[in-house]
């Protein structure tokens, strides 16, 4: 099985999964702590639209996806009130237009399905490079701004009272999330982004007692999920994103059951 790593597409997927396993959950912590779940849905749909545009005009999808997502983020920042309504409108628009483009430009269904399920073994070196840069940016951002980020997660008014430029850091985190979702689509598809974005965070939240340990454990579980999914995929010849998703749910369920049993024992 390990000899398969000598094949370029497999190796690229392996490297991408290491970076994404570490980075996507860090963005997932931001999504959940900043209550940006509607934004995440909007971005996932934006990814489908960006992918559909790229397939329709037959160019590499990543750049278009990133541009569409950044545009969605720009709109949502500029229309801050009724955030969830803006996100809902953006979602419906994205899916409607994507469907129209796929139909109008006769995009093959195989290519359309890749938008939903990802194409981890079709990544380019550019994709890997962008993913590695995002990883470096996210990790450095969190290391150098941890206290500010924690304060913003805790309470924006209190963060402002501490002299933190909340809008700046908030908008920066939204942009990072937009880039992360764009890259996640290429790797694991629009529908199963949560398997590396959100589920590792939910698993980690059952075990951590603070924000630092939440970030660290989320990243650790993300890496565990991505690598276990990768090797399981190779061994059993299964689709990668689905495998990662199912392993994630399995681990989350086990930990939830163990926590419940521990709580019950404590009460008894």
């Amino acid at each position: 099985m390990l000899s398969l790593l000598s094949l370029a597409p497999i190796l690229k997927a392996f490297i991408a999964l290491i970076f994404s396993g570490i980075t996507f959950p860090l963005c997932g912590v931001m999504v959940l702590r900043l209550d940006l779940v509607p934004l995440r849905y909007a971005l996932m749909h934006g990814v489908i639209l960006g992918g559909a545009i790229a397939l329709a005009i037959d160019i590499s999808p990543l750049a278009i996806i990133i541009l569409v997502n950044l545009f969605i983020v720009f709109l949502i920042i500029k229309i801050p009130s009724s955030n969830s309504f803006s996100s809902a409108a953006a979602m419906v628009f994205s899916m409607g237009l994507a469907s129209l483009l796929i139909h109008t430009f006769n995009v093959p269904s195989k290519d359309s399905l890749q938008l939903l399920w990802g194409s981890p073994f079709a990544l380019s070196y550019l994709d890997i490079a962008i993913l590695s840069i995002l990883t470096i940016i996210v990790i450095n951002f969190l290391i150098f701004n941890f206290k500010k980020v924690t304060a913003i997660f805790f309470d924006k008014s209190i963060a402002k009272s501490l002299g933190i430029n909340v809008n700046y850091y908030y908008n920066f985190m939204i942009v990072i999330i937009a880039l992360c979702v764009a890259l996640a689509m290429r790797l694991i598809g629009a529908l199963l982004i949560d398997s590396l974005l959100i589920l590792p965070v939910l698993i980690a939240s059952r075990l951590s007692k603070g924000t630092k340990s939440l970030f660290l454990l989320s990243s650790a579980f993300g890496l565990l999920l991505s690598l276990s999914g990768f090797f399981t995929t190779l061994y059993l010849d299964l689709p990668l994103s689905a495998t990662i998703a199912l392993i994630a749910v399995f681990i989350y369920s086990i930990i939830s059951i163990l926590k419940y049993l521990k709580k019950r024992k404590h009460h008894d």
Partner: protein
């Protein structure tokens, strides 16, 4: 058994006896109980010539103060080796439950090599007098949104280290006032001066803000992370840990340091929030309905803590509240926001 050898009860941190009769007790922390005793001695006309004391923790600083106050017999729950040697060098009868090499605090580090009682005393006094609040002056201040005035204050003057309770009906503008003080929204007219400077020139972290919390969140944040939010990043790791430790001790919340903040009770959260403000060295504390969602025990603990912090830390305090019991117990100056034709 003499009374100073008996255990301290409830949350008492210091008992002082004269001829085995209790003459003074304190619930404060750090060295403040001893400073309170000093004020007690200065204000008393009686002479006390057979003093004994039971204190929770004794470092060299506490030992020096006890020698200064002519206490002849001491009993500590926890004492440092340096404190014991200092006391014994002055022939003070010393008892203790537990002894350690050194207390983990900066005050102990500061006096590690010092043996002169007067020098230790002068240096402690200097450290204590560093914490002060700032004066606040509000004149003809109109607050509101989008040029719509919600409320106008004619004049409010709060001296440095003083406290003010602000009360008013729902919807009168209390929250808008807090937002204006926190510079979330600008004043529509008039001015707010803090330490004679306009509020927009205020240094960051001057104001410590404590708001009421309605709900817990799913995702954890540790008490240490909350308390250290506003800490000065230029401090070394040891200095930061010392500051976090001391702030939590002053608020009687040191046991909570490794807990998830959202697993705490309402009263515990308020203690941690106060510790956060101490850690950031806030000169002004703004508390928004601090007793909401607190049970009676937690409310009483908070009131005790606020009174103690006002004496020991001396920040300027503004409390916005509906709570009549809180007003009564604190007995601080009150400003009532009223509608013009009320």
């Amino acid at each position: 058994m003499e009374n100073y050898l008996k255990p301290l009860i409830e949350s008492t941190t210091l008992n002082i006896f004269n001829n085995d009769k209790l003459i003074f007790k304190s619930y404060s922390s750090w060295l403040y109980p001893l400073f309170e005793f000093e004020s007690f001695l200065n204000n008393s006309t009686k002479k006390y010539d057979n003093l004994s004391a039971h204190d929770t923790t004794g470092g060299k600083a506490a030992a020096a103060l006890m020698i200064k106050y002519n206490i002849k017999k001491v009993n500590f729950n926890l004492i440092s080796e340096g404190a014991k040697l200092l006391l014994e060098s002055q022939n003070i009868e010393t008892h203790y439950t537990k002894i350690i090499d050194k207390l983990m605090c900066k005050t102990e580090d500061l006096f590690e090599k010092e043996t002169n009682i007067n020098t230790i005393y002068e240096q402690i006094k200097k450290r204590v007098n560093k914490s002060k609040g700032l004066p606040i002056e509000i004149k003809n201040l109109s607050i509101g949104y989008n040029n719509n005035t919600i409320y106008t204050f004619k004049e409010i003057l709060i001296k440095a280290g003083d406290a003010l309770i602000i009360e008013g009906d729902n919807g009168i503008g209390k929250t808008t006032f807090i937002k204006t003080l926190l510079r979330e929204i600008p004043p529509l007219k008039g001015k707010i001066l803090i330490n004679n400077k306009p509020i927009n020139k205020l240094e960051p972290k001057t104001i410590g803000y404590i708001k009421q919390e309605k709900e817990n969140q799913t995702f954890p944040i540790s008490v240490k992370e909350v308390v250290s939010m506003g800490i000065n990043n230029k401090l070394t790791k040891i200095e930061k840990n010392y500051l976090i430790d001391t702030s939590l001790r002053k608020c009687k919340a040191i046991d909570l340091i490794n807990r998830n903040y959202y697993s705490l009770s309402g009263g515990e959260k308020q203690k941690v929030s106060l510790a956060r403000c101490l850690c950031q060295k806030a000169k002004i504390l703004i508390l928004d309905e601090p007793t909401s969602f607190l049970d009676i025990t937690s409310k009483n603990q908070l009131i005790k803590l606020l009174k103690s912090l006002k004496k020991s830390e001396m920040p300027t305090i503004i409390i916005i509240t509906h709570d009549k019991d809180l007003k009564q117990e604190l007995n601080w100056k009150t400003y009532k926001m009223e509608r013009p034709n009320a």
